[in-house]
Amino acid sequence: MSMLAWIMKRDLLLAIRRKSDVLTTLFFFVIMVSLFPLGVGPEPQLLKAMGPGVLWVAALLASMLSLGRLFAADYADGTLEQMLLCPESLALIVLAKAAIHWLASELPLVLMAPLLGLQFGLSGDALWVLTLSLLLGTPVLSLVGAIGASLTLGLRGGGVLVSLLVLPLYIPVLIFGAGAVDASTSGLGAEGHLSILGALLVLALLATPKAVAAALRISLE
């Protein structure tokens, strides 16, 4: 097996072994979305209007919270040090780790989203667009978030510092993601938003792994 395969295998294994970790992200998402009707009140019109926004913000926060796990454990036990020393390109390693992270903690959330959308009375079309926008948007969140996660390694309170660093950068994804659903419900067509999300994804795939690799080297100095 190649080294990348080993990394992916290991991260998957850990995700399975720490099942609860993965489930908590999902659970957080579900709970947060379900809390809103309780906090805001039960008017269907209001709920329908805020539905896409709430789902997207919840997905964003859930993804951000799971970021803590991306490197922290590897950092604490010295595995990250070993990764820096290993003969493969660090950017590729980062990409492999981010991919598994997305697969294990964000894909379930994306698949869950339509179900939660029903709670807010979203239409079938809107649910489709919602899922699609999340499918395109969440990898961007993981990748961009990885920058924050790597920069704050070893800093106590890093978890919350990450959110401070990363949330402003998340905003375009949020706007286009939630915007796509809104556009589709108001009959404008979501293609424009979705293709911008796609473009952001390509950009993130190209640019972030190198930035994260640099950040990791800085943090481990």
């Binding site: 097996m1 080294m3 395969a5 080993w6 990394i7 295998k9 290991r10 294994l13 850990l14 072994r17 720490r18 454990a73 604490a76 036990d77 010295g78 595995t79 040090e81 070993q82 990764m83 820096l84 020393l85 290993c86 003969p87 493969e88 481990l220 100095e221």
Partner: protein, 204 residues
């Protein structure tokens, strides 16, 4: 051939060391000694490329390690941290660590290595139930299967009992006899009867 010239290391406000240099040939052993806090771990991390030297150069086969492509392939570094996952078993940890270091080992090889290092019967236990010394052994098992020429080991003997120390000593000797290089720190006494030994001694 591993060579360092006039290395200097700053930590915080103070200069930990400067003008440190050595030349290590195949079969060479470099023992880094010194009291607590004198800079041994810092030097070792610098030799791995994890800390950039303030001044000086580190060369692997004549090429600065920052530009060398095969340095990482030649190196095995084990530090204070174990680099093992608490939730995984010793076996999984060993195979994965080897995979990360760039060489695959089969399950049999891994089980065999763990057995030789004194973990027989515990290969499948998650590491977090193991004792302190057993955890270190899981980490050190990598040395039994590594075929890298350069080993850099920061206090490998910590938490090991006498048997395990004996095992490590013979392992080091074998490595040196086979033309490997070894850079080592330890506060315990360790007589290695092979290779060409040098010493760097720090004072606090």
């Amino acid at each position: 051939m591993f060579e360092a010239t006039r290395l200097e290391c700053m930590r915080g406000d103070s200069r930990l060391f400067s003008e440190v240099g050595f030349l290590l040939e195949p079969g060479g052993l470099l023992h880094v000694r010194g009291p607590n806090g004198s800079g041994k771990s810092s030097l070792l991390r610098m030799l791995c490329g994890l800390i950039l030297p303030e001044a000086g150069e580190i060369r692997w086969n004549g090429v600065n390690i920052r530009h060398s492509h095969d340095y990482n392939r030649a190196l095995t570094y084990l530090g204070h941290l174990n680099g093992i996952k608490e939730e995984l078993s010793g076996l999984e940890n060993l195979r994965i660590n080897c995979g990360l270091a760039g060489f695959d080992i089969s399950e049999e090889t891994a089980i065999d290595a763990l057995e030789r290092i004194g973990l027989d019967g515990r290969e499948h236990l998650p590491v977090n139930v193991l004792s302190q010394g057993q955890r270190r052994r899981v980490m050190l098992a990598r040395l039994l299967v590594a075929r890298t020429p350069l080993w850099i080991l920061d206090e490998p003997l910590v938490a090991l009992d006498a048997d395990a120390i004996g095992l490590m000593r013979s392992l080091f000797e074998l490595h040196l006899e086979n033309g490997g290089m070894l850079i080592l720190t330890t506060h315990q006494e360790l007589e290695i009867a092979a290779g060409v030994a040098q010493e760097i001694r720090f004072f606090s």
